[in-house]
Symmetry: C2
């Protein structure tokens, strides 16, 4: 079994452990931050961590009402801009805690008066010494080059933080169980990927809560399967990129029931007219019926809780497809585990 | 001549006209906004306008020090979030002024206490009636489905606004002349595209000031040439997506001299090791020498002023490549000029 597959399998346990170990700290942090009159949250990350941040952006903005900005690190590292951040909460997200650009942004933000928070899997990392406070993912060392368990661990911290900062009811303690259910799809997905062995490019679509997931699956497909995978929200996809869709062009959708349902149905109808090939990850019967293929998520679930369970079949899809293509998901060409950029 | 090519050619004149017609209004607006103690700028757009906003994000954040957030429209339109925006400037960008989701965000932001600004090409559009103030692009009706002249017109408004809001010296009045110089590359680019007639996918790279351009060229290639075109910053490209690069894989770079130069050189060296095929749009001799092919921009130019002149050869590239592929850039399959999404 690949390291990637092994780490995918560990996720329910890690999520449970992370909740138990960190919930109290996050609640206290929430109380502290509520008193500080934060009026902006800035998220800064690269790679899979940036995809988790993209999820965090929607969750935090919607549940707390505080505007969220996804930072452009080069604004700080190349252009040396001095931003007005004195009422901001700046959150760095990095699996290793050693992303040099992320840490530089945290340092600059701190000196500009921001409260800084790190989310990392490594308790002994530079990030921990830089940020005012750190939230730890309890995933154990991530050995796979393609991040999976730290991605969902980072997402879990956004749930805890959103619950601590806002007034929205978020039953995130149910997520590990949903993740466990999602893992049962393994044999089905291992069979399904055979159909995609020769897929060379595709588009991944997700929206709102599942928008970050579309980036994350596309990244996994690029890293482990060498598929040229685009990612769009269903709304943006209609603005131009739809022109690339020809007969049999593969489009993969994250399509839970909830507020994004209608836009996914509209897109599936359009894809059908264009004779495209659609694969939906969904718990909605109508969406499954409109899709060329579907991965049926065995659960009724609040859309707000869907992103973690819904990325699991996608992670499995990438790991098995890599194998089906005769590749090794643990040894993606040209990549190292830690990427240093400024 | 296609409408697209015709409208590309009109740009220097439109930029000049837009500066002359709107500069005074923007300066007054800047004075007014400086007194309002704005502590956040939110940009909201779709499609090419969103790519112009991505440029605006870097320019405004770097030159004014005010944090900028690129809005996720669904936060307002699907999730009905109520954001704290009472000290925010919210800028909607829409060629037609009829983007229903963009206008909805402006309405919601206004009722939340934000000052709202529209940037549009249509003086008689809904956006003008909704926003507190509107900046007009003086481009004449845009007939081509693929936006070109309104994209650079929108960018010009970000220059004028940045100059009015911040203390950074921006000689944007020089841009129309640089745009004129860029247009002289027409015959060279018409010859160059022959080499790319069978290109099916590619990656476009840009960073900082030219990051929005990488999205814009990728979108033009998707819309008018049906090329599956990815877009990344050179930093993000190293975080995973690099794995898709195989021998002869095409990578197009926006590579002006300036602070992003070293990261482009690092990337070109890596691409050379991987035997990839690189095409740089550059005014830097070393970058040209490191690239498989290059489009030599005939100008010394401050990096901050480079985005408009540098997108012009890219627009020409897409328009001519469409023709070289036997397609019609004015009739992209599956698309209409105005896209309505919520």
């Amino acid at each position: 079994m690949s390291l990637m597959l092994q780490e995918i399998t560990e996720q329910p346990e890690i999520l449970e452990r992370t909740i138990n170990a960190e919930r109290e700290k996050v609640t206290k942090l929430g109380d502290f931050l509520r008193k500080k009159d934060i009026d902006l949250i800035v998220l800064v990350a690269r790679g899979s961590s940036d995809n988790a941040a993209l999820f965090g952006r929607y969750l935090l903005e919607i549940t707390t009402g505080i505007p969220v900005s996804l930072s452009a690190p080069s604004v700080f590292t190349l252009y040396n801009a001095k931003l007005k951040l004195n009422r901001a909460l700046v959150i760095g997200v990095s699996q290793s805690g050693e992303g040099a650009d992320i840490n530089r942004v945290l340092e600059t933000a701190k000196s500009a008066g921001a409260y800084t928070l790190g989310i990392t899997n490594e308790a002994a990392s530079s990030m921990v010494t830089i940020a005012d406070e750190t939230l730890l993912i309890h995933a154990g060392r991530e050995k796979s080059v393609a991040a999976t368990k730290t991605y969902t661990g980072q997402m879990m911290h956004f749930y805890m933080l959103a619950a601590a900062l806002g007034d929205h009811r978020l039953d995130y303690h149910k997520i590990p169980e949903f993740a466990e259910l999602a893992l049962r799809l393994k044999p089905e997905i291992e069979r399904l990927v055979e159909r995609y062995a020769f897929m060379e490019n595709c588009v991944v679509v997700g929206r709102g809560m599942n928008y970050g997931n579309s980036y994350e699956l596309a990244l996994k497909l690029m890293e482990t399967c060498y598929v040229v995978a685009e990612r769009f929200s269903s709304a943006d996809f209609f603005h131009g990129p739809l022109a690339i869709v020809e007969r049999r062009f593969p489009v993969i959708l994250f399509a839970p029931s909830g507020v994004t349902r209608q836009s996914n149905i509209d897109l599936l109808n359009r894809l059908h007219e264009l004779h495209a090939d659609s694969l939906s990850i969904t718990n909605d019967d109508k969406i499954a019926a409109l899709s060329s293929r579907s991965i049926a998520m065995p659960m009724e679930i609040d859309e707000f809780l869907s992103p973690i369970p819904f990325i699991i079949p996608a992670q499995l899809f990438a790991a098995y497809l890599s194998k089906a293509k005769g590749l090794d998901p643990d040894a993606p060409r040209s990549l190292a585990k830690i990427t240093k950029t400024l």
